[in-house]
């Protein structure tokens, strides 16, 4: 066989086998991966919304938001697109949770915030994902930092140096959390009121 033909055939066959194999593995693991992510999110929601016994997804991605939100002008500016509502045993809504995002030192910091429906107070926050420096910025995960947000409402400033103390040596990471909590808060509370 001509050498250049052989080169093309070998490379094509290897690429095709590789593509087929990857498609199969992706098919097999895809469902498990999304199931895992959903379960991890639900566990975090239980943590920040302890009064809820059942959690419903209000919106989970920008595309579902477009369908559910009739107000076309708002969805572009919507700061949070992942929202969840918690219900108690009698199926009454007790509060809501949303995922906010803020720019950190090593990338976006995503924060899950649980809010009590009646009082509008934050019940707890949990860091969904971050890429902050280990030992410095990663301390935003510590209970002592996160607990500062408990009890805050939309009327509080929620600002560094005012009602939230920044972590020593991790001002950027602290600011990212503050911003993540603040940006989604108003949108989420409006969406919650509308859903009731």
């Amino acid at each position: 066989m001509n050498e250049s033909v052989r080169m093309i055939v070998v490379l094509t066959v290897i690429a095709m086998v590789s593509g087929g194999l990857l498609a199969w593995v992706n098919d097999w693991t895809g469902a498990i991966i999304s199931e895992n992510q959903l379960q991890a999110m639900m566990a975090s929601i239980q943590e920040v919304l302890p009064t809820a016994t059942r959690v419903e997804i209000l919106s989970s991605s920008p595309s579902t938001l477009v369908e559910e939100d009739p107000d076309q002008a708002r969805e572009v500016e919507q700061a949070t697109t992942e929202m969840f509502i918690g219900f108690d045993d009698n199926d009454r809504p007790v509060g809501y949770a949303f995922v906010g995002e803020g720019p950190g030192y090593g990338g976006a910091v995503r924060v899950l915030v649980g809010v009590d429906g009646a009082s509008g107070k934050i019940l707890g926050i949990s860091i969904v994902s971050h890429a902050e420096t280990p030992g410095l910025g990663s301390r935003i995960e510590e209970e002592s930092f996160r607990s500062q947000f408990v009890g805050k409402t939309l009327n509080d400033p929620i600002a560094l140096g005012r009602d939230i103390d920044a972590l020593t040596g991790a001002t950027v990471s602290s600011r990212a959390v503050v911003q993540a909590v603040r940006t989604g808060f108003e949108d989420a509370s409006i969406a919650y009121e509308r859903s009731r």
């Binding site: 050498e3 052989r6 080169m7 070998v10 490379l11 290897i14 690429a15 590789s18 194999l21 990857l22 593995v25 992706n26 097999w28 693991t29 498990i32 991966i33 895992n36 992510q37 991890a40 994902s129 890429a131 420096t133 280990p134 030992g135 410095l136």
Partner: protein, 201 residues
């Protein structure tokens, strides 16, 4: 038989990829902030290394030499992606830590280096043993560096904290410069041990 064992053992000490060949240092410096991260990255690399070495050794007579590099890259990239997806599905916690480094296995020069220098010229069995030895050599190096950095930087080992939460630790060792210092001291230590062994024999 002795020859085959040699292919396995050389990766553990004499040709250790991290401390001797000093290749593939990017993940060594980046992921070794804890012992568990080092172990996970090492085992993931070992798996890809064995699979790609065996396959490339099997295909060594089929692949024309002019397109051998793209062929190696496709083989290595395929196995790396499989590891990435399988780890994401079954070890989500480890994947969250190593996530961004797994795709980098593709460009780890240990993989290309062993494919080009060894698997493309040797039998399937010795290529598999070479991959296993190199992979385990890489794994123990990463785990050791990770353990030292974790003990000094966070006061814990395999995520078990042995100092009080408020205790001051050498945070420097959790950061990238700490990785350079640790690797440098370990290479020096290994050279001393090797020199002693040579003198003794």
């Amino acid at each position: 038989m002795g020859g085959l064992m040699k292919e396995f053992f050389k990766g553990l000490w004499n040709d250790n990829p991290t401390f001797r060949l000093q290749i593939g240092l990017c993940p060594v410096l980046a992921v070794t902030s804890s012992a568990l991260n080092g172990l996970g990255m090492g085992l993931a690399t070992t798996f890809v290394l064995i699979c790609s070495s065996v396959l490339i050794s099997l295909l060594k007579n089929v692949i024309p030499s002019k397109v051998r590099i793209p062929c190696y890259i496709i083989v290595i990239a395929t196995f790396s992606t499989i590891v990435d997806l399988v780890m994401h599905a079954f070890l989500p916690d480890l994947h969250r830590v190593l996530g961004i480094f797994i795709p980098l296995i593709v460009v780890n020069c240990i993989l290309m280096g062993r494919a080009e220098a060894f698997a493309s010229k040797n039998s399937v069995v010795s290529s598999a043993l070479d991959g296993l030895g190199m992979g385990l050599g890489f794994t123990w190096a990463l785990t050791l560096i990770g353990a030292i950095r974790e003990i000094l930087g966070s006061g814990s080992i395999f995520n078990h904290k042995f100092v009080a939460d408020t205790a001051a630790t050498f945070g420097f060792f959790s950061l990238p410069p700490g990785a350079f210092v640790t690797v440098g001291i370990l290479i020096a230590g290994m050279n001393i041990i090797s020199a002693r062994l040579r003198k003794a024999s």
